[in-house]
Symmetry: C2
Subunit: 218 residues, 2 copies
Amino acid sequence: MHLARGSIVAATSVLTRPRKQSRDATLQKADTLLAAAAALIAEKGFEATAIRDVGRRLEVSLGGMYYYFASKDDLLFQIQHRTFTALLAEQERVAEQPGSAEDRLHRLLVGHLAFFARHPNEMKICTFELESLKGDFYDRVLVVRRRYFRLVADVIADLTGRRERKPRGHDRHVTLFVFGMLNWAFMWYQTSKDGPVEAVAAEMLELIVNGAAPRKRR
Amino acid sequence: MHLARGSIVAATSVLTRPRKQSRDATLQKADTLLAAAAALIAEKGFEATAIRDVGRRLEVSLGGMYYYFASKDDLLFQIQHRTFTALLAEQERVAEQPGSAEDRLHRLLVGHLAFFARHPNEMKICTFELESLKGDFYDRVLVVRRRYFRLVADVIADLTGRRERKPRGHDRHVTLFVFGMLNWAFMWYQTSKDGPVEAVAAEMLELIVNGAAPRKRR
DNA sequence: TTGTAATTCGAACGATCGTTCGAAATCACG
DNA sequence: CGTGATTTCGAACGATCGTTCGAATTACAA
């Protein structure tokens, strides 16, 4: 039911179809299919991934896939919208806890990297395949992304102390720099090589707050 | 001639075929086709772009395209390899000029963003479609990318003063953070909104060197 | 102008893809 | 058990794509 905010196109899927009693196993299977699709799309790209192959990996026929998803575009939308909504919800809870601007930014960095470490396929898709979304799908994902941007931008505004009403100049750029660092992580981050996300987040926070140059005096 | 280091597959193209006398107009036309292809691929993605459409934009028949390029993969390789080689050459010249670590990093940031502003389509493709390259194509582009990474990493090692032989720990992460900021720029940078690249580079340098928090004392 | 190499074209092939559809199978429940 | 809704399947359609190939056309040197 809380999954019901799915596709808006005319075609139906098990996620959008009204039902007297949505069986739990069905929604669970939809989740499994979405995860398998995310793994394939993250590996080969959205356009290069065939719905046939997603089904094959879980032994679901091609026709069966269309019982769970209205279209291939709907599949991509579900992945991105669910992922970013979940990330936003987690981070909103993290941000509202008390602490200095530096503390809250630190927790947000850890939260983002930890979420990425838990859902690497989905997060990679959110970064690489945003522009593969069309029309309303694109718009609806953008709404969530913008709320997440504001969340981080507000904390960074506290940190710099400039306190622009809506970050348009300097603070906006710093926020975009931070998102650049975060989103580029999936190009290189490996737990075995780079340590736990907490360590990476600490390094990132140090750079954002104090920079990388050695202290001049004292 | 200097373009001759193209495809390595068995199939031939005008860029790789040996010729007694490569006519200048032909190589120039190949450049035009590559630029048109880059515009389309940057807009719709590599898999979603049809060679037919690239030709259509410049009124070249489908068969004609295969006179200039050995395959669709070769087309993508040419774009990425030429672009990154050109960027590396420019930045090597920038880096070897004298100055403090901060000065040289500043010039590298300006150089990168300026190159990006001059070739947004090609740079976007280098970021988004790296993993669309297959086999040898992927490897050969990676060689150039690694040289560029080292170039920036060395300057950053000077900046932090840690002087690790090969950046594996802290300096490596700082370098990856910097590349994240740079490569994320095409998601938001617009001259009209964000000012000239020199201004953005200055903000980026300030963050990298001193951080974003207000100076505690003095 | 003649001959040779370079360039362009158009048609065709095989493969793959997204989507549809109706029948079959399965499940929940009286 | 029986009945209706839910789920699964397999085949098929139309469209698009990368690639090949040989003929036709153009450009350049002798």
